[in-house]
């Protein structure tokens, strides 16, 4: 695994994979894709890094508390957006009825809460997948 070729190629590939993942997340409402697929693609780039460079030393790892915060904060953000619908006088998870601007269909900033939610899901799924993988492959990772 810790071959030079793999390291060089993966170092070359990882940015492209990440850009692709970000594209899938950000353009999820305009083209096929969305938070779940894009988040997984972003996570897979990090997993590729872990695989190519071996299990990283402590200071090079993505800190444990960072992924934990992103996971839970993503979920809390989803609930928060849902509650915004209630606070704005309609129902839980209301979008256009709650008065979020829908924008022009086809633009990146269209869709009211959908764009925000997709982004939150993408971040959350990416960190979730990294956590799942690194905990399954590694013996003990204490929280930082």
């Amino acid at each position: 695994m810790r071959d030079l070729i793999i390291r060089v190629i993966s170092r070359f590939m990882i940015p492209f994979i990440q850009v692709y993942g970000a594209y899938i997340v950000l353009y999820g409402h305009l083209s096929p894709g969305g938070g779940f697929a894009g988040g997984t693609v972003i996570a897979s780039s990090i997993i590729l890094y872990i695989l190519a460079y071996g299990l990283l030393s402590e200071e090079k790892r993505i800190p444990e508390h960072f992924t934990r915060v992103v996971e839970s904060a993503g979920a809390l953000f989803y609930v928060f957006v849902g509650l915004l619908g209630v606070l704005l006088g309609t129902r839980f998870l209301g979008n256009s009825v709650a008065g979020f601007p829908l924008g022009i269909p086809g633009r990146l900033s269209s869709g009211g809460t959908i764009f925000l939610l997709t982004f939150a899901i993408g971040m959350k799924v990416a960190s979730t997948m990294i956590t799942l993988f690194s905990h399954l492959i590694d013996e003990e990772r204490e929280e930082g």
């Binding site: 096929p32 779940f36 399954l136």
Partner: protein, 122 residues
């Protein structure tokens, strides 16, 4: 008893059912827990295939809207299956964690051997 023309029309459904049963069979017949988990995944994606096939329309196109004069397929099954895939990945991850932990305790991931070890201890 069987109307083969109709069955050939519905080959997607038929194959989904056969794959479902294959996955089910792998889950039942193998004592190895990782094999069971693979069987579980095969079974679930077979159901997802079934679900997606329900929403298909001949000559339809993907539900990326905003084009004129196009028949779109039913987007609802796709959306449901997205949820389903994520659920099945989560279940798999958790089951694998349990398997890894079981291996640390028993030194095997085979259910039959685990049962034997337990009998021996009792």
């Amino acid at each position: 008893m069987f109307d083969f023309v109709r069955l050939a029309d519905n080959a997607f459904y038929g194959m989904a059912i056969i794959l479902f049963l294959t996955g089910f069979w792998i889950m039942l017949s193998h004592a190895n827990l990782i094999k069971k988990i693979i069987g579980m995944n095969i079974m679930e994606s077979a159901i997802f295939l079934f679900f997606v096939a329900i929403g298909y329309i001949k000559g339809g196109s993907a539900p990326i809207l905003g084009r004129e004069g196009v028949t779109y397929i039913n987007p609802l099954p796709s959306a449901l299956i997205l949820t389903g895939i994520v659920v099945s990945v989560s279940v798999t991850a958790f089951a694998l964690a349990l398997v890894v932990k079981l291996y640390q305790h028993y030194g095997t991931v085979n259910v039959d051997e685990i049962t034997q070890i337990r009998r021996g201890e009792a």
